[in-house]
């Protein structure tokens, strides 16, 4: 839906010079705390800052001195919504230091537990965080009164994602099953068979979710931005691959710091990361933009029914991208689990040694890059973690700058705030990994 311009209020010199401050104390339905500050002169944006309030927790410091086998349990605590992603990037990095390969069973099951997190996180985002925006409600329980089936379907999918994480992790928030070398525990054949039945049932629900997401009224816009994701030669990206961009870059995860630089900005506790000096997008839309050819053909057929062609430069297509990834993840997990066998051991023994290792995986919100330097006992000497939200933050600011001006800065503060929140929510910023949200402060001159 194109937002129709409202009648523009006439302003005289007196009001032009008036300063308006609005404080909206919390940006709702965002995982974290933050605020948006706009400075407007003659309906043009002079300055825009996305402030991130999340208090620093200093994980990279207290990882120092910790043993390699404590890292997965520590980094999970960076984010309650995507703990599996943190565990995956960490164990891959540490296994690189130890030069060990846990083999095909572990590789496949790591994909399954990650599918669980994509399903859980995307379903939560679509139904509890984003959909109320498009449907005109302030929360999902409120929306459920008018759309009970849609909300319940979302909650069921979210619950199934959680159950898939529990199958390998014992619980869905801060799961306990992942270790360096594999998993502590392998589920039984019966548990897996029951899971396959549930996945099969959910696949049709997810297909319906895709059409529903594609039918939501969203703004038409085409923005210039660079997408970045992992790319694997023959599968939709998750745990392994090279880093690629829509501008044609293609480099290894070890070369990450040669291209992507994090820097501190005064107005945020989250770092801003730039790709060769420029903002870029990570996350579901970036992934699908760069990897749609790797979706199995029957999934690509379903994607075509949405009428959206990927790559897309409309950030509001992110909600559809998430629905597609839920559908993909359900099918992927089912295909893997249908071939499930009990392994002789769910993990391999590892031999700690010193060195530097890198792990980069696709968290629900996008690239999550870890680097660890370990000593010969396998203790952390130095840890560096670059979460997706800090990578998207500069991009979000650019998006707000372009879209809010196009939307019309002469609109009311409330309208600007609501539109700003919608834009920000497209990125599903998980501010606890870097930060959290809340407050719009517009200075008009």
């Amino acid at each position: 839906m194109q937002h129709l311009p409202l009648p523009r209020p006439a302003r005289n010199i007196m009001t032009e010079s008036r300063r308006i401050n609005i404080n909206v104390p919390v940006l709702a339905r965002v995982e974290g705390e933050g605020a948006l500050e706009l400075s407007v002169r003659n309906n043009h944006l002079e300055d825009l800052k996305l402030r991130i309030y999340e208090p620093p927790r200093l994980f990279e410091k207290f990882l120092e001195g910790r043993s390699y086998d404590e890292v997965a349990d520590i980094v999970a605590r960076i984010c309650g919504i995507c703990p599996v992603a943190y565990q995956m990037s960490a164990v891959h990095a540490i296994e690189q230091v130890f030069a060990c390969d846990p083999g095909p069973w572990v590789r496949a099951m790591r994909r399954v537990i990650y599918c669980g997190e994509w399903i859980e996180s995307h379903s939560l985002h679509i139904h509890l965080l984003a959909a109320p925006d498009f449907m005109g409600y302030s929360s999902a329980p409120e929306m459920a009164r008018d759309y009970p089936e849609e909300v319940r379907r979302g909650l069921r999918l979210q619950a199934l994602g959680n159950e898939l994480i529990r199958l390998f992790g014992g619980r869905s928030v801060h799961p306990v099953g992942v270790c360096v070398g594999g998993f502590h525990h392998a589920p039984t054949l019966t548990q897996v068979a029951q899971m396959c039945i549930k996945l099969q049932t959910a696949i049709d629900e997810a297909k319906a979710l895709i059409s529903w997401a594609a039918s939501l009224e969203i703004p038409e816009e085409s923005l210039a931005f660079t997408s970045v994701s992992i790319r694997h030669p023959d599968e939709y990206p998750m745990n392994e691959g090279r880093l690629v961009s829509s501008t044609g870059l293609d480099f290894t995860i070890e070369e990450f710091e040669e291209h992507i630089i994090e820097h501190q900005v005064a107005h945020s506790t989250a770092f801003h990361a730039l790709l060769d000096g420029k903002p870029y997008l990570v996350g579901p839309l970036a992934r699908i933009n760069l990897n749609s050819d790797l979706l199995p053909s029957h999934i690509a057929d379903v994607v075509r029914t949405t009428g959206i062609s990927f790559p897309s430069q409309n950030m509001f297509h992110s909600i559809v991208a998430r629905a597609i990834e839920i559908y993909f993840a359900l099918i992927e997990a089912k295909n893997i689990l249908e071939e499930y066998e009990i392994p002789r051991s769910p993990y391999i023994d590892v031999n700690p040694q010193s060195g530097v290792g890198y792990g980069c995986t696709e968290a629900p919100r996008g690239l999550l890059w870890h680097r660890y330097e370990l000593n010969n006992k396998g203790e952390v000497v130095k840890a560096t973690i670059v979460p997706p939200t800090s990578q998207n933050q500069a991009r979000i600011e650019d998006n707000l700058r372009d879209s809010l001006e196009a939307y019309g800065l002469d609109r009311s503060d409330d309208e600007i705030r609501l539109h700003g929140e919608k834009i920000i929510r497209n990125y599903d910023p998980c501010i606890s990994c870097s930060t959290h949200f809340l407050k719009v402060n517009i200075q008009r001159q």
Binding site: V26, A28, L58, K61, F62, E70, I81, P141, R171, S172
Partner: protein, 255 residues
């Protein structure tokens, strides 16, 4: 009139709020039973509303959070902390044992922009908490049990048992006895369902100290298993490092 509840976030990972958001159908039931007036992550925003029950996630780690927690206390009849951060300062309380300023300086190029206290502390260090739910994270069962009890006008029941008891109830093979794995189950509060020993691994005490934990005996047992002093320290100085029983136990092994 329906009781009003609020869910507040302090310094945390958001994982305990998921105990609400992962309730599924029960979330819709809960929103019928009570009036959720503030829960930013789920939608409603009204941080200064007067409520019957305030749930607080996260620890106090900034000057602003000290002001906030006092306001919340003033506005709430019953205050419940949820999770290790709110109840014991969380994993990030490890900064209390280090030079936090120096940590910030080494991570941020412009540390003067970072508003942060030297310590990360439990809610009860600042205001009275009427009920403390342990766990990293807490689960939906704990939340629902607390709300249900309060709606009936009774004090919510609290777990007191150790993880060891839960293992026995579930007939889980003991990982410490059979495999010599240094498990924290004997001194840790249950409530998790003993998921770690059931998965064949050590309990790492994410539910905090149980009632009367014999930390001296377990430390001695760990020494018997060949753990170095620094390994024993790390066992106690982990998710609930600032819980008094664990802080004291860890300190004994600081060489």
């Amino acid at each position: 009139m329906k009781p009003k509840i609020a869910v507040h976030k302090f310094t945390s990972c958001d994982g305990c709020q998921l105990a609400f958001l992962n309730l599924g159908e029960d979330l819709l039931v809960l929103s019928e039973l009570v009036d959720i007036v503030h829960f930013a992550e789920a939608g409603p925003v009204n941080p200064d509303a007067e409520v019957d029950i305030a749930f607080v996630e996260g620890s106090v780690s900034t000057p602003h959070e000290i002001d906030r927690i006092h306001r919340i206390r003033d506005n709430s009849r019953f205050l419940i902390t949820i999770g290790a951060c709110a109840t014991a300062g969380g994993l990030q309380a490890l900064r209390n044992l280090a030079d936090a300023r120096q940590w910030i300086t080494s991570l941020y190029t412009r540390p003067e922009h970072i508003q942060s206290l030297e310590t990360s502390t439990a809610i009860s260090g600042h205001v009275k908490a009427d009920l403390e739910l342990w766990g990293c994270p807490v689960n939906g069962r704990q939340i629902i049990a607390a709300v249900r009890a309060l709606l009936f006008g009774v004090v919510p029941p609290q777990e007191k048992d150790k993880v060891c008891m839960e293992c026995k109830r579930q007939q889980t093979v003991c990982v410490m006895v059979t495999r010599g794995i240094p498990c924290m189950g004997p001194v840790t509060l249950t409530g998790c369902g003993a998921i770690c020993p059931r998965f064949g691994r050590d309990c790492y005490a994410c539910y905090g100290p149980a009632e009367n934990p014999n930390t001296a005996a377990i430390s001695q047992r760990f020494e018997g298993l060949g753990l170095l002093h620094q390994d024993i320290v790390r066992r106690f100085e982990f998710i609930n490092n600032a819980a008094p029983a664990f802080a004291e136990a860890g300190k004994k092994y600081h060489d």
